[in-house]
Symmetry: C2
DNA sequence: CTGTTAGCGCATTCAT
DNA sequence: ATGAATGCGCTAACAG
């Protein structure tokens, strides 16, 4: 550490006329210390601008006070918002977040987790990704794990997520209420529980409306933009007609939008389009995209809250959050 | 640290039949050690799956082996790509990056830097932002500082950046070659050197083409999307005509695009549009946006390379990278 | 080349 | 309530 942080606990002990242990005590607040000594210590701390050495502290205490956060894409506004929530939820506490990027690749996720482990994280928050709860748990051992966004099958008590079935149901129902009967669906990767849940919600809405689902109107994508392009081309090549499309995320909706543009198919005049995630760009698309908004910052905050409780040994159950339909011009025209 | 990493240097010393110092030596590679002992140590390390304790190491060595990376927005694909570059440039080394988000707000930047400082970072990489070299330097003291993207005035030797004047010149010249004469420019915040350089490049291209610059065709934005919307509305309310627009970044170009759409002005038929940054969405806009691509990953890699050199006490000068014009349909039609 | 000896700065016993 | 002593795991200066 190039910064000379010479001032140590011993210095302030001397200046305050107490022992180092006492200083340590008032700093950690573990034991009662006489008012007078307490004040003397605190004064010395500010006077000398004392900064505790995190390494010495961690070495002695066995706690790193670091929370690892594994995201999938630093560049995604949605994950960004969650991370902001986590940061916000952690500020004011003694915990500090470190971030790693799994890039939607299981192998990289594993590496990233291991790298964080080497930094002795006290807890791990996983945002999205393909690693299941058990797999991650196996990597990290006993340290607390919180999964966000994608629910951990069978470990829902340690997961922060929205009701995806309900959300997809609402999105699809919106299209039905607009008068659509032939509604296509671009799924996410079906090895992903979110993708399965959203398809379920889509089917549930159709069923409720008495619409016979057409398997050929459902295409499996990868959650990536390019797969939205491909999905649309596949849909068209099948020659099936449809007047509306529900994509399992905005990225795929963007891809579909571009493919429609290239084919000269107008949105919303010819086809209505609904996405999922409410990425910032959705509001700035041409035309602006109707989409489901996940309360991203709140998810992050809740993850932090839950993690802190776990770290303190408390057992709380995570709050369940809801997605909200944001209606924009991509579904403006009813038929 | 909930993970019981009981196996220490002493354990492997015992198993290898050497002293702890010798173990430390083969691990750090600072001194030559006899082949036989070396192998014995290495074997013990793998046999016992030894993981060094970073805190003990840092406490003893005085080096954290942590590089702080201050970005402005985890959610920006451009900064994301730079961070990826930094990560890539650091993997394989003993250094580990930690990230903080300044959110394009000087006060938050300062806080973030201080939080990282508390983590005893050995070096700091600053991506973008409003803090100047001197200001950051004042915060961090003697530890190496590398500025990326925005050049540090007078400290160019410690900055990784592209030639913004040249880049903006190329963008504007592209429009001129298409036949445009009345070309508007949406600047970034002019307290930012990049914004000033890009305006300079814009003016340079006009001058070279013998086009009299019209101050009313130049609007100062904030680099944010919304300011692109406002800039366009201001341009229109001034009643000046223009057939092309060069925005100092893609975000503002997106905003301008939306405002044009709302006014019923077509791109590129009525107005050609050029952005800057080549954010992924640019390729998926309607129509796809012509823009300048900064070599983001390479910037990150170069930053890491430069930082590592500085850390080793070497003095190298940073490579200068170039932006590249990506021509898409938003400037498809010449006039 | 290698073992021995000291700390790094702090938390945490153990006494008092 | 508080000081003294001990150790967290490792590196580095000191001898040989």
């Amino acid at each position: 550490m190039a910064t000379k942080d010479n001032v140590t606990i011993a210095d302030i002990a001397q200046r305050a006329g107490v022992s180092a242990s006492t200083v340590s005590r008032v700093l950690s607040g573990t034991t009662h210390v006489a008012e007078a000594k307490r004040d003397a210590v605190l004064n010395a701390v500010t006077a000398l601008n004392y900064q505790p050495n995190v390494f010495a502290r961690s070495l002695a205490s066995g706690q790193s006070m670091i929370i690892g956060v594994l995201t999938q894409n630093f560049g995604s506004p949605f994950y960004d918002a969650i991370m902001q929530g986590v940061v916000k939820g952690l500020t004011g506490t003694d915990y500090f977040p470190i971030f790693a990027d799994g890039q939607w690749q299981a192998a990289i996720e594993v590496e990233a987790v291991q790298a964080m482990l080497r930094r002795q994280i006290d807890g791990l928050v996983v945002l999205g990704g393909f690693l299941g709860y058990k797999e991650v748990k196996q990597l990290i051992g006993d340290i607390p794990l919180v999964m966000v966004v994608n629910r951990a099958n069978g470990y829902e008590v340690n997961s922060i997520f929205i009701d995806n079935v309900e959300a997809a149901y609402l999105a699809t129902r919106h299209l039905i209420e607009l008068g659509h009967r032939r509604i296509g669906h671009i799924c996410g990767r079906l090895d992903h529980p979110d993708a399965r849940d959203r398809r379920l919600g889509y089917l549930k809405a159709l069923e409720e409306a008495g619409i016979q689902p057409d398997p050929e109107l459902v295409i499996e994508g990868t959650f990536r933009r390019q797969s939205g392009v491909l999905a649309l081309e596949m849909l068209l090549s099948r020659g099936k007609s449809f007047s509306a499309l529900f994509a399992a995320n905005d990225q795929m909706a963007f891809g579909a939008r571009l493919a429609l543009y290239r084919r000269g198919i107008r949105v919303p005049e010819d086809v209505s389009l609904v996405g999922f995630d409410d990425e910032p760009v959705a509001a700035f698309m041409i035309p602006p995209l109707t989409t489901m908004r996940q309360p991203a910052i709140e998810l992050g905050l809740e993850a932090a809250r839950f993690m802190l409780a776990r770290l303190k040994g408390e057992t709380i159950r995570p709050a369940r959050l809801k997605a909200e339909l944001i209606v924009r011009e991509s579904t403006a025209i009813s038929r």
